[in-house]
Symmetry: D2
Subunit: 387 residues, 4 copies
């Protein structure tokens, strides 16, 4: 592994996943936790070492990461005490807030520039300063899910239109797009762990290719969809016809609160629903995905899936999967690995969409519109690249 | 596909899986069911056509298959009525019974020869007569699980020892071995869908290679282990450490009754337990497999798995899988495909262990002692062969 | 038990519950099924005998009950064949249809009178003719859930206002209210097994008391709420604090389709939600009830509950209940018992709300606004009355 | 409530339940936890106040309670730190060890007297010293489950035989009986929270009545059986016939380890199985209870129940309950309440079996052999007594 210092700039740094990433790396540096959950821990190649990672980022909330970690309550008490000092020292930069894209979340730590262009300059400035203290930088988007936008809009169709819309302060342009634009401008790889529309619009893909910047996304594949894309290919292999797949989720963290807003939920559910047709090769008539904000769980998340299948003699059977997972515990290590892989891709001179990272995402961005969703085939693609 | 008539001779013909195989093929011939559950339904190659399959076989119970189907209650009433005549016409041959290998099951339809050699002759005679009415034949073992035998015994170490033990009517030799020996003698491929020790002993592998007969086994991978070998590789891919895996099964059919005998259960559980270490690369400290005979379910089977994993920051999560399946509905189509594949292998001039069929088995027989258990890698091996 | 003939007139006769009621009684008459599911089967008192029950009723669909039963697919094939003739002979009367109260359901078997008063006359005429062939009659409402109405409306506040609104053909008055009004006019007890607002408005309670007619309701307590009202009192008894209760349902019958209409769903969910506060004595902050139309299940219904509780030392635990039930199989026998009990109440000279039947309902109608929801206390009240 | 100091002497003080009782009371004294899990917290009567409870007891392990609590890992880190000093100050008395009754558990903190009579004297001496620092004392048995004994033995049939067997150092007499005998001798009420045979033998019931000492037991009803005795009466009320009930448990604490010994398990399972027949009034043909030692859970316990029921038309349905509970969190507050109630019973001058405490036990000891198992009827009996 390389000895260089890798800086990860996180959009939504103070969220549960962001603080868990930072906490995890600090605890790894101190040798008090193992590498469970980190798929590339044993990879022998040119990835940045975990101990050489440093963090910064933006958040709507100005709390330092010790305060944020206390609120999210993901760390054990002993873990918290161990790294309290390090967490206290990290304070988020001011963040882009836009009520029309993210209604339910409050925040006071706002960039108050008057135009898109000025906002982008602020973000670029943050990245320039960050790059002074690290050898390479990557931006990872972990912000709460934004409202669904009209991806087919002409505004997003090519870089020229997008630049024009930036100049005109178009209200079609979301915060997530501003961050992606700024990252690409700064030649910093960009990974989108959220379902929000951002670097996946044609305009920004074009920009990334032009600037030689690797991008990847979107929507980290952590819990229910991970299991879904593992099971569905196997059901197909056994010729078990899927008649219905009912998936419900309950979660109580800030992400859950954002999703209790109808518009954000629609964006999330859309992402989740697209995988089955791709894997099975037919439309599942009843594929229902529900997400409910449910406070008692906090950052712990629970998914319940019920799958109805038809087998031999036309007879029906059922599979039920109940996943009691922890959102940030699953997401944080994947977000770290995505950052390391984007950095590796940049070293290799790659630019634009990094399709080989599909294994990490619910809705992989692809050049042609045919993402692979089956987990084991995504993994094969990924391992082929790593070799 | 080939137009030749394929004969499948089933050990345990009148059991739930055997009658379901026969019923399914008859219903397919009449076009009243689809091909759900049959993984090779759309395969374009030299496999026997489903409509060209005919059945015969042995059973401890002399009931014809209509009587057997009524007892097992797997078919819907309409399906039963549709093929009652065809089922009535099939009566099992007399079967080898041996209380020291199979204690719980009663039966009156017994071969009463005095020696192993005479018993083998009877089985061979059955096969010879069967081959007169079909172009090719395959034997599939679906009999209830026999008592665990000492596989390391010198008796089984090579063909010479085994022949000698046959001559001496050794009580180490089980019914399943007699059937396998007779099949191989008759140049008929042999597939073992049960966990019983049979063609997987060195002596019979040697015999199969010498005679140019393909063999495959063992223990059909239908329900819980199927799901286990699908999920476990994915957990490893995400670096989620498996701390414990508790698997329990309830089932109420004749197989369940056989398993309520401690010796047969031990044989079954041993098979089930070996997969995790192979897939994960480490020993799961608490891997528990329980099987309980539970009458209310009849042929329906229910598996409940609880998996404890450790992820990032050393934090634990749980996955629970509840599979409400139907034993015969899952098993019958796989047993049909195994027969077709063994027939194909014979056409290709293959002999001995057909490792490429591992995807169908809980405990794949392999030349060297390193079976692949991960479902998607087994499938890849299988698809490579089919191409 | 009494020897008199009891006639049950069902609103929604051709629905899954209605046909199952009729089929069950016919099968009981023939002695081919037992009395499972009928709580009062062993009661020794003046209840009508099951064998002396006859049926009639209204439905939007003109199909006879054999056709209806085929569509609902609740009976086994053998059961269906056994009573096909009896079912064929029962054809529903024309029914009141009103798109503004029930949007998703189509039907052609409609009463086409021009006014509320004329519609009521038609219903009364049906009942008069029915009473000619039986000694006593009861009306049971099993129609699909209507849109939520404004129960606090002045229109419903007393009989006088209601009569006036009838005269004016007020569009506040729902079909369910017209049936209830007609039943009470005819001196026929009325039981509401649905969540629709009907005899529970003050105007009709007043009418029932005035006419000496027993009424009961509402919303049959069959699956998830039954379990909820059994478990919740026990959690309270153990001082386990309920922090959240997430209940989701999937079902694929005509009721499910009706509920996929937002307005009907709201009516249903409201009923379901009110029980916890009553039983526990405090508001459960996260009590979520979801119902989803999910075709693969047909009449089979599945409920999944997740309960988060806090126990000693403030530590949290979880209880999950997965009920794989059959809507009509649970509902039909309760609807039969309700009819028998209403008939008994009439014999006893009771009138108005029959609160002692609360054990059968999700939202018991009560004189004062304090329904008892705990199942075992409802049962005690019920058994006290029966004695 | 009374102001007197109540001393609870615990057999198995250093176990998970014992340390949780002590810790809970200490945390209540400091006001840092609420009264969740304590059913009598709001009872206004003559029960001892929680803050006036003091603890002592016996354990095979000499570790102080801070050490014990660290091993059991039930307390949160903050809770532990808060009461570390108090816990450190409590050290268990030497305990009676007998390998023939409790095989799997090691311990060094042993009473090494040569005879039953001398052992009893030691226990009495412990109690005498304890009573010097409190106003009243109660003994609660929380020791690991002993091997099943022959309850019908003549030795246990009356006090005279038992006294004689004590004199002869009979090896039929278990440690649990010695503790019970000593408590009763000392006029100290005795509650048995374990399934071990102890004060429930006729000899000791006779002794308790003679000495005017209240006794109660046995086997605390905490998790799966609690739920079972809540659900089963309701299924009966709805005339749902129970065809099978499969209950499995996984747990990883010291109790689980003890139960991994076949003999202890048999004792436990026997207790669990007896409830259904009592509640339902018929024998459930397939009532299976499994308990498996499963380390990943530690003190957390998980129960999975599958219930098969037959309803109307003879159709079958399933209910599944998954209880993710915490053994000590459920047990500790009940053990505290039992102690308080036994003390109250003594104040009231009661002696012998306190049947009104059945609600706390899986196998209530009763005068005649007809224990009530239905939870809500047990509760009614209990509340009647409290009034």
């Amino acid at each position: 592994m390389s000895e260089k210092k890798l800086g990860i700039a996180i959009i939504g740094l103070g969220g549960a996943v962001g603080t868990t990433m930072v906490a995890g790396i600090e605890l790894l540096k101190k040798g008090v936790i193992g590498t469970e959950g980190l798929p590339l821990a044993d990879f022998e190649g040119d990835l940045a070492k975990y101990e050489n990672i440093v963090f910064a980022g933006w958040d709507l909330n100005e709390a330092n990461l010790a305060e944020a970690a206390t609120e999210h309550d993901v760390l054990s008490h002993k873990q918290f005490v161990n790294i309290e000092k390090e967490l206290t020292n990290i304070k988020p930069w001011q963040s882009v807030g836009n009520k029309s894209f993210l209604a339910n979340i409050e925040g006071e730590n706002l960039i108050t520039e008057n135009s898109h262009r000025q906002t982008i300059e602020r973000i670029k400035q943050n990245l320039q300063e960050f790059k002074e203290i690290c050898d390479e930088a990557v931006v990872i988007n972990l912000a709460s899910t934004e409202k669904l936008v009209d991806e087919a809009s002409e505004t997003f169709a090519n870089l020229e239109n997008f630049e024009k819309a930036l100049n005109e302060n178009s209200n079609e342009i979301s915060p997530a797009m501003l961050y992606a634009y700024a990252s690409i401008s700064e030649n910093v790889p960009y990974g989108n762990f959220t379902p929000s529309v951002s670097a996946d619009i044609p305009a920004l893909i074009e920009f990334a290719e032009k600037n030689g910047v690797p991008i990847a996304g979107k929507d980290g594949k952590t819990g229910q969809t991970f299991i879904k894309t593992v099971l569905a290919p196997a059901l197909k292999s056994r010729a078990l016809k899927v008649d219905g797949w009912y998936s419900t989720n309950i979660l109580g963290n800030r992400d859950g609160l954002a999703l209790s807003n109808e518009d954000s939920l629609r964006s999330k559910v859309k992402t989740k629903a697209s995988v089955l047709r791709n894997i099975l090769g037919y439309e599942v008539e009843d594929h229902i995905v529900d997400i409910r904000y449910y406070k008692p769980r906090g950052d712990n998340k629970e998914a319940w899936d019920n799958i109805d299948v038809t087998g031999f003699l036309g007879q029906s059977m059922q599979i039920k999967v109940n996943f009691l997972c922890k959102d940030s515990i699953l997401a944080a290590p994947l977000a770290i690995e995505i950052a390391c892989c984007l950095d590796l891709a940049k070293q290799q001179g790659k630019s634009g969409i990094q399709e080989q990272l599909s294994v990490f995402f619910k809705l992989p961005i692809t050049k042609e519109n045919n993402p692979e969703h089956a987990f084991h085939r995504q993994e094969e693609m990924f391992l082929d690249w790593l070799k």
